[in-house]
Symmetry: C2
Subunit: 333 residues, 2 copies
Amino acid sequence: MKKNTTIKDIAKALDIHHTTVSRALRGHPYVNEDTKKLVLETAEKMKYFPNAFASGLRSNTSKIIGIMVPDIRPHFFSQTISCITNLAFKRGYTVMICQSNEDYEVEKQNALALLKNRVAGVIASISYKTKKLDHFETLEKHGIPVVYFDRVPQSEINNCVKIDNFNAGMLATDFLISKGKKNIVFYAGLPNVNVFAQRLSGFKNALDKNGITLEEDHILFGGIENKDGIKVAEKILGRKNRPDAIICIVDAVALGILNTMAKSKIKVPEEIAIVGFDNDPAGALVYPGLTTLAQPMEEIAGQSFNFLCKRIAGEEIVKPSVLNMELIIRESA
Amino acid sequence: MKKNTTIKDIAKALDIHHTTVSRALRGHPYVNEDTKKLVLETAEKMKYFPNAFASGLRSNTSKIIGIMVPDIRPHFFSQTISCITNLAFKRGYTVMICQSNEDYEVEKQNALALLKNRVAGVIASISYKTKKLDHFETLEKHGIPVVYFDRVPQSEINNCVKIDNFNAGMLATDFLISKGKKNIVFYAGLPNVNVFAQRLSGFKNALDKNGITLEEDHILFGGIENKDGIKVAEKILGRKNRPDAIICIVDAVALGILNTMAKSKIKVPEEIAIVGFDNDPAGALVYPGLTTLAQPMEEIAGQSFNFLCKRIAGEEIVKPSVLNMELIIRESA
DNA sequence: CTGAAAGCGCTAACAG
DNA sequence: CTGTTAGCGCTTTCAG
């Protein structure tokens, strides 16, 4: 293990002061062109790499941005993280990624880890269980700006990028109604998850607007995994008065339903149309393909990163970004 | 923006020396129990957070580990990154994640970024285009150990966790033969990608072992996306002498084939059986479900992290970890 | 344009 | 057990 080259080493080699080397390296204006060139060449030759600790210690900030999510694995998060990482790279930032696994205590510790490392800012999507925001407040108090996306705290007004889920719920419903469906079931997943509740409100609103009365048993709750879709499908197939369409707040469940329908030889979308949410890539691979509402992931990532950059630069965000989901029409509806 | 509390602030408040505070905070043995308790309490009260820059500057290392992958988004990578992140968290590490987008220059810059931040170690899966390893050598030269997984450099002998792809290719083939299939096509994807070539060798070997002669047109090459599967399926369906099984080096392509078969009302697996690789989650959601070979992702993550911890601790890895893929039997074969 | 001096926050070595 | 001293590598004054 070789000792790292420092600016002092370069200075010694060139018999100048290390301050000058520092200046030359950073493109400071007050440096003789020749000196500068010489320094740059020598740095290259001596394999100099700046020490982020030392500069961080001085500036008390880094070229790192923190990303906090509940889980890296779902398509939505891996996709947005990937986009943000690419954007960050272009601006000379490296990303530090934390996942809470939907655990409040872990999320808290992650925030502290980012604080210790004095990240320049944080982009976060919070865990379902997070009610208290003190760990984020701590970040802000230490001058680390936080921008939220997707799962934003209810109390946060401006520093966030969110989806108009109400509108998305309407969009899905209107689309099915326009296809002549009248007997639409809405699978709302877990109660008291904001995002889901908003989609449900959109559904109700669309029915209302179209003068369709909502049947009591047309709203279902339950888990949000594939296997839950199988349960739902079986329940629905057992009914005497079968619905002619199902809207599902997550694709995983919709795919479970789709699968069960295929096995039961129910024709989709003729007998039952299905619309999901979130544009899971599997939806494009199944047959029939799943019609779904997609988050504009690149835009979400772009806006979040943009907001964060602004906040890092000291600007204030005065209006949140509210983006719409897009209907992706495939075969299932 | 509040100034951060430092150990000196605590020292001043308690009228003791900051060295003592430092010792107390780190659980150094030579500290009076009472003093220690007092310091800990005061630190808590004054909202002290250690400054990673300062300690990093001293020790020239951090509690950060770097993860380098070509792309965060594919299921395999998001899954392994997620596992590694969780393991790292338990050991007090934070992770820094870099993606190269299969670009050698970006990979190089990412390595430098990790170097600047003096990460404690790196876990890497290299880009297809990476032939020169100087950026990784630079890391090693600066005392940053690198452990490779999945896409490991050919020259790397010990510090890696890899998959026995040859064996996996055999496994898939043997399975189909055991099901009575004789006329098996192998879709080998891009030529000169190691992983794929090894799977192909396994296929050839299995045929050989079973006394089946390999037909010229039973090995196909092409892209590795879903749409390439559609092309392949169409090509095969057009043949007078249709194969009775297809092995596909990636699930994405296998799923494209499966989809086309469903559309063409070809019975799977009766008329054509299909086996994929990599256990894409979509394979579990389609009907019929895709039989596939799965990487033991948790084990890969665990071994990689384990190797890295050993290397950080100064131990040498004397034998690479070679793991086997597991056959996941669903309906398609 | 260049140099000198000081200090960011922390820890290691040494002396009490 | 505690305090002193020094220094990690860099940047920011301030003085030439």
